[in-house]
Symmetry: C2
Subunit: 376 residues, 2 copies
């Protein structure tokens, strides 16, 4: 941290963009690798490389230019990252951790081996094995690898749903009768310092399976908050990882916490922290991977976060309707991702609404949802 | 604000950099003009042009590429900006306003004509006129134009100081026996909406005349706060300007507010807002010039801001000492400007310390000041 650090990020989308934004504070020399020449990060870094982060040589050659390499997406070539690590490049999160998290089957086994509470599951090779496990329904069937943002997940209520099931290695996860979905973002630096953000509550869109509303703080008892933070810390410590880990959880109707899944990077469930907490998730991730002391995660305002998704029926050059009206509401701020092209349900930005209480913020959030539309 | 806006900024230093940082939220296409090819903004914009912002053709040609042009420094070619304005480019602050503020003599006359309280002054053409006005001392002599960051100001206590006086058009400003120096940052958008940030107190370095400590909120009564905000609003309304205006003031020992000088752009006295207020001064400036509703300026935390100046005796590639120790204190965040080269008293970054009270933040600020050093 004495001179300029060369930080490489695999992925140049909105998460990379928000990392670069936070990184402006820290005198970094930044390098981005993304397959899309028009990625949101392209004008905000020192060097931008177009290439596949799944390709061994591309990732290896990119990483050789960096002091520290991190990710904004898990679907990266971990073999190249392992090689870079062996050769002295700092890679956070560690390639071994990314390997586990890339595969929802390994992830579930990891929870079991480490006494981390999670929903019951079975690992399936193919559809034939699914049929043999019909007794396990209702359940979610999730592709073991390459799922993202709700893709690669299907809900199977009975054998009548088998036609929409996957013919691939999957995790069949028992449906949990939950009260709320929570997320705790936890960070750990190489010194072993660990710090959690306050738990938030997530409400997912029933169709897209993307975060529809985020409420901070979550409406939970101090006991549940403590339990959720304890679980998040246990996961990051069991993984022995450095960086940020978003731990999505179910709070069951009888007050238990079950880990749903994790992401070893900044996460949609932490976007509000930029406007509502003393340290943002993006600054915290950078502090962690640069081995700086972790920041104060306290929230200073209640917040609701809404994703701005491309309106159904519109594809093409993005046009934003209703920003004036939305921003006229006190406490409303917008964050657009700089994507030129909108598509139905594409994540184009988000809105954070801060207020004294979540109820007050929610009321404004409902107004915002009415007025802002991303069209083409 | 529907599609992408082409925003040009004259000046690519730290203020431009922090504007770009805030602009990431707003889907802007950004263009920067700066004479230094290594300016802090160079890797954070869509197009970076090396050239003089004092040159008519350079500014005009740059501005023609933009929908909106703003500044991070006043010393720009206002004739080119006037021409751009006539040709339909939005220029905020307005060239006419920049012209007044560029010249401390016109600025003082403006206050007089508009009933804005300010210290007594005389306008001098040269040293001969200064000698004729020896009865006016003690006073500050300020160059009418091109002063910046404490340069171009000298304190004259008696005629014995005449040898350090300026041989140029100057303002001779009566020394004010003040209690505190305050700053109120106020914003106005084209709709005429006006909003102030809470007043802060500034303590200047006795030698460099740069801000040494900033305290937010200022320790003043609600009556003084109200009076200071009223004065700031009166100035921006009298100027009839759009954008951000930092109004530096003296609070005299008998409770009067006198305007010292103003800057029509983000200002050192608003750096803490990024970490301690619901809207930062940078976001507010962008909202104002893009004719968006202004943001909520409320402070959520008490704060102290320290400038990180290059240590005396060191010039060359900047090295930052003590960042680890400083960041380990809860509430401390750093913002480095990405300048490769340090020089004595060069502004290299700043530190913001947030806490529940200014007293608590000040205690930590003193520790920070001990440990962080910018050397070479």
């Amino acid at each position: 941290m004495q001179g300029e650090i060369r930080l490489g990020i695999l992925g140049g989308g909105q998460l990379g963009r928000m990392l670069l934004q936070a990184g402006i504070d820290l005198n970094l020399y930044t390098l981005i690798l993304d397959p899309d020449a028009e990625a949101p990060c392209k004008s905000l870094c020192d060097e931008f490389f177009v290439g596949s982060f799944a390709d061994y040589d591309t990732v290896y050659n990119f990483g050789k230019k960096c002091d520290v390499v991190t990710i904004e997406i898990e679907h990266v070539n971990t073999d190249a990252l392992l090689k870079l690590k062996q050769e002295g490049v700092k890679v956070f999160p560690e390639p071994e951790v990314i390997k586990i998290i890339q595969d929802k089957g390994l992830q579930k086994e990891f929870y079991c081996h480490n006494g981390i509470p999670t929903a019951d599951f079975r690992l399936l090779q193919n559809k034939a094995e699914l049929i043999e496990n019909a007794d396990f329904l209702p359940a979610f069937q999730k592709l073991r690898t390459l799922g993202y943002d709700g893709r690669g997940v299907t809900r199977l209520t009975s054998s009548a749903d088998f036609e929409k099931s996957f013919e691939a290695p999957t995790v069949l996860e028992k449906l949990v009768d939950y009260e709320k979905e929570l997320s705790v973002i936890v960070a750990r630096n190489p010194n072993g310092e660990v710090s959690c953000f306050p738990a938030v509550e997530l409400v997912f869109h029933p169709v897209h399976n993307l975060v529809d509303y985020l409420f901070s703080p979550a409406a939970i008892s101090p006991e549940v908050e403590q339990k959720a933070q304890k679980v998040a810390k246990r996961v990051i410590q069991a993984l022995n990882m450095v960086g940020l880990l978003a731990v999505e959880m179910f709070l069951t109707k009888d007050g238990e916490i079950l880990v749903n899944e994790v992401a070893p990077r900044p996460h949609n469930s932490g976007h509000h922290t930029y406007k509502a907490n003393l340290t943002s998730q993006f600054e915290q991730h950078l502090r962690a991977i640069l081995n700086l002391p972790l920041g104060n995660t306290q929230s200073h305002s209640a917040a609701v976060m809404l994703n701005l998704l491309g309106e159904p029926g519109y594809s093409g050059l993005a046009q934003y309707e209703g920003l004036q009206e939305a921003l006229a509401l006190p406490g409303v701020s917008i964050h657009l991702y700089g994507k030129k092209i909108t598509r139905p349900a594409r994540k184009m930005g988000h809105v954070t609404i801060t207020a004294n209480t979540v109820a007050e913020a929610t009321q404004k959030a409902n107004q915002v949802k009415e007025v802002i539309k991303v069209k083409a």
